[in-house]
Subunit: 285 residues, 2 copies
């Protein structure tokens, strides 16, 4: 068996930073420490933080006092205001690359551009960006939506930082016809682009592709979708336990990658489990 493991698999800079901030906070403020929503989209990592006393609350109202950590995806204006009003200690773990996207969204808005965000309207990152802008914002997730929209004099476009670059490109191309001036800031995180490209390269040469990451992780879902287009035998799992023995029968080349919020220990466990199960399969053949 040959196992191809993506170099870019696992924690990106922003997630690693958020985890470090949370671990540091757990030491400094062991009492009444909360994150607003899960710190990162990985249940196992969040569970681990829970063991260290970091509690997850979905709404500011559910945090009576103490410290609140704003997660890597950023926070909405409403939540920021509420946390301040309540007098909570705020620790901001928003990814700097997400902050950059916020900056450009506000910049375009202030300069009179209608704004198009290429992304998932229900993703916390997009919800947060949107909350700082009061109007003329459209969130688009596919090219067909563009056709239905009107015509703009000045159109600004940014993307959710973990979006598929190809989708971004398609939407920018489709928007050209719809605007006289188009100003685009490429806010896609470089690490995301590299991760997607590497996944594509691996998927091309293997017979089975395994993508590891939270089921609630948008970037992992997209990673799996991109791989599946190339290698139909692509499986999205969260932990080593979900690895199915049957996937490994009669395949000699196996690929492994993981989303930006997947801890390295989960990737290692999956790697070990693949080797273990594959040995078992070979023995029974």
């Amino acid at each position: 068996m040959k196992l191809f493991i993506a170099k870019s698999a696992g924690f990106c800079f922003g997630v690693k930073r958020a985890m470090d901030i949370a671990l540091e906070a757990a030491k400094k403020f062991p009492k009444n420490l909360y994150t607003l929503g899960p710190l990162i989209h990985n249940p196992q990592a969040v569970e681990y933080l829970g063991e260290l006393g970091v509690k997850v609350r979905e709404r500011i109202e559910q945090i009576p006092e103490g410290t609140v950590i704003f997660r890597s995806h950023g926070v909405s204006l409403k939540d920021l205001k509420r946390a301040r009003e309540k007098g909570l200690r705020i620790i901001d773990a928003t990814c700097p690359i997400v902050k950059r996207a916020h900056f450009f969204a506000k910049f375009l808005h202030r300069h009179g551009y209608a704004l198009l965000i290429v992304g998932d309207g229900h993703h916390p990152e997009v919800e947060a960006i949107r909350s700082y802008l009061n109007k003329r914002v459209e969130v688009v997730e596919d090219v067909r939506t563009i056709e239905r929209l009107g015509h703009w004099e000045k159109l600004g476009i940014i993307a959710q930082t973990t979006q598929s670059f190809n989708l971004f490109k398609e939407i920018v191309a489709a928007s050209l016809e719809k605007s006289k001036e188009m100003r685009v800031f490429n806010t896609i995180c470089h690490a995301t682009t590299i991760r997607q490209k590497e996944a594509v390269e691996i998927a091309k040469k293997v017979e089975c592709m395994i993508v590891i990451g939270g089921y609630n992780s948008g970037n992992t879902q997209r990673l799996a979708a991109i791989c599946k287009e190339i290698q139909p035998h692509t499986y999205h799992i969260e932990t080593a336990r979900e690895l199915n023995l049957r996937w490994l029968v009669r395949v000699e080349k196996i690929g492994l990658t993981a989303g930006a919020s997947t801890p390295s220990w989960i990737i290692s466990e999956v790697e070990e489990e693949v080797r273990h199960k594959k040995a078992k399969v070979n023995k029974n053949l």
Copy 2:
């Protein structure tokens, strides 16, 4: 036989305006009247102007005195300066839509953007635009060129006004990967886009497509190329005389369109000739 004639065939606003200006000038300044290069890319129209006394000169040096008309494609900075130095009377027939492209090129340049012009580097319009900018300008005519170019912090993109919209779109999409910020002004003339779209629609439903216009007319060449992709039996002709009888054998649906610099009398002549030759073909069958 069914003949489909494009509503958008023939003189665009800018060409009509330039012709009107030249005809008016021929009345007012019948002596020593020149155009710098052919007024429009149509030999028959230029010949007609010649009969009215409008002489064509390729260089300012060849104009001893009198009046010079700057044609619809615009004029280079060097020629403008030379004409002024010589004390010639200047009549500017540059198309306002071309002027708009000049404006945005200078605007982007002044604001620190590297500039990409989607167009033909040898076309007088592109040569004129380029002459006003001293550096950081690339003219690209195909997507592959983009791959070879470097990476930009701030990239501005405009197009030659009569370029193919699809090429513009492809180049914008390809440039996204190459820049952090991309600012695009859609400088393609709306009439050009409409003309191309209408030509495509007609080419789809006919068995033979005839595109009329100067062989030196870039927009007519592109119109013919776009039609040929859809209907291989596409023929680019300049006048009715070139219409080949054989093209009309066993075809019942014929399409007609013409470039932006094709006079309506040439289109009418071709239409008549098609009906005449087709009747002849039917008689002999």
